[in-house]
Subunit: 181 residues, 2 copies
């Protein structure tokens, strides 16, 4: 299966050096719609990557205890190799859809409620994407002009996906409502 976390870390460090904490923050804010990481995974992987020479330590900030990692040439090579390799797609597992599929014995009103919640959830996501759009437009430092297009596109991806889900919810809610009436 191969540890994907190291590639995420290499990618993030290839944009800017930083600490494990920074990496986590980047995941939680900028790319939360496409990727996530946990501290419990980041730190051990970071140390393993250090041992393998994929990254190295810049002069750590003594005041804040912060460790600054930077990508090495070897790291860049490994990263590039992964980048041009064809993507491995893992099969889908949507717990929401699994539940929905087997809901035929539940009261229709309950299902409609669940669908409305799901819809709202994605409407909130949409809002967040707008906020993120604002965020990346303000934070000049991160957004080199050639990188802006990529970040913008991942955001568009989130927006279009969410809109599709909302459309689906509307459709199905409508179907169920015409059934009960």
């Amino acid at each position: 299966m191969e540890n994907k976390t190291q590639y995420a870390i290499l990618g993030i460090l290839s944009i800017a050096s930083g600490s494990g904490y920074d990496i986590k923050k980047y995941c939680d804010t900028v790319i939360s719609n496409i990727w996530n990481e946990n501290f419990g995974h980041i730190y051990p992987v970071l140390n393993a990557m250090l041992r393998e020479g994929l990254i190295d330590r810049k002069d750590d900030n003594v005041a804040t205890r912060k460790k600054e990692y930077a990508i090495t040439d070897k790291g860049k090579e490994v990263f590039l190799n992964w980048l041009v390799e064809p993507t491995q797609y893992k099969p889908v597992r949507s717990e929401f859809m699994l539940k929905f599929l087997f809901s035929s014995n539940l009261p229709k009103e309950g299902i409609i409620k669940v669908l409305n919640d799901y819809k709202k959830r994605h409407e909130l996501k949409l809002e967040e994407f707008r906020k993120m759009e604002k965020y990346i437009n303000q934070e000049k430092k991160e957004i080199l002009p050639e990188r802006e297009i990529y970040l913008g596109a991942t955001l568009r991806y989130g927006i279009l996906s969410s809109e599709a889900v909302i459309m689906w919810c509307d459709e199905v809610i409508h179907t169920f409502e015409s059934l009960t009436s």
Copy 2:
């Protein structure tokens, strides 16, 4: 995180009794767009569920070595409890989008090719969904009239999602093409 496989199994067995092999087949055909399972997981889980009394064995078919499992009352209860529980959403991890995000140093033509492949991939998926629609319309035995709407809806979900991805590809390809020219 809790083993989701058992719920998938309970759901599938609640529609019709069957073997591990049947369960796998159901995943690979009917619900492949929302769920998947491996044999290496199904069989051990099946035995654990048997021990816990969530399922039991019908008279096995000696001729084919096939073991028939059926959901028990306890299994139904456990299943229902899960069904009405709020869904736990796991954070996204899209390797494709991660790669795309960090592709700014790759040649634009290469990226466009990757996007076209991704698009084609989802166009093929769309086709498959149509085929599945046909399949569920023909296989009367599985599709009780009240279940048809749920199966149809999961298919619609796949269709709308794929279309959204295809739209996204078109958008981004267009952006990149106007950049290079």
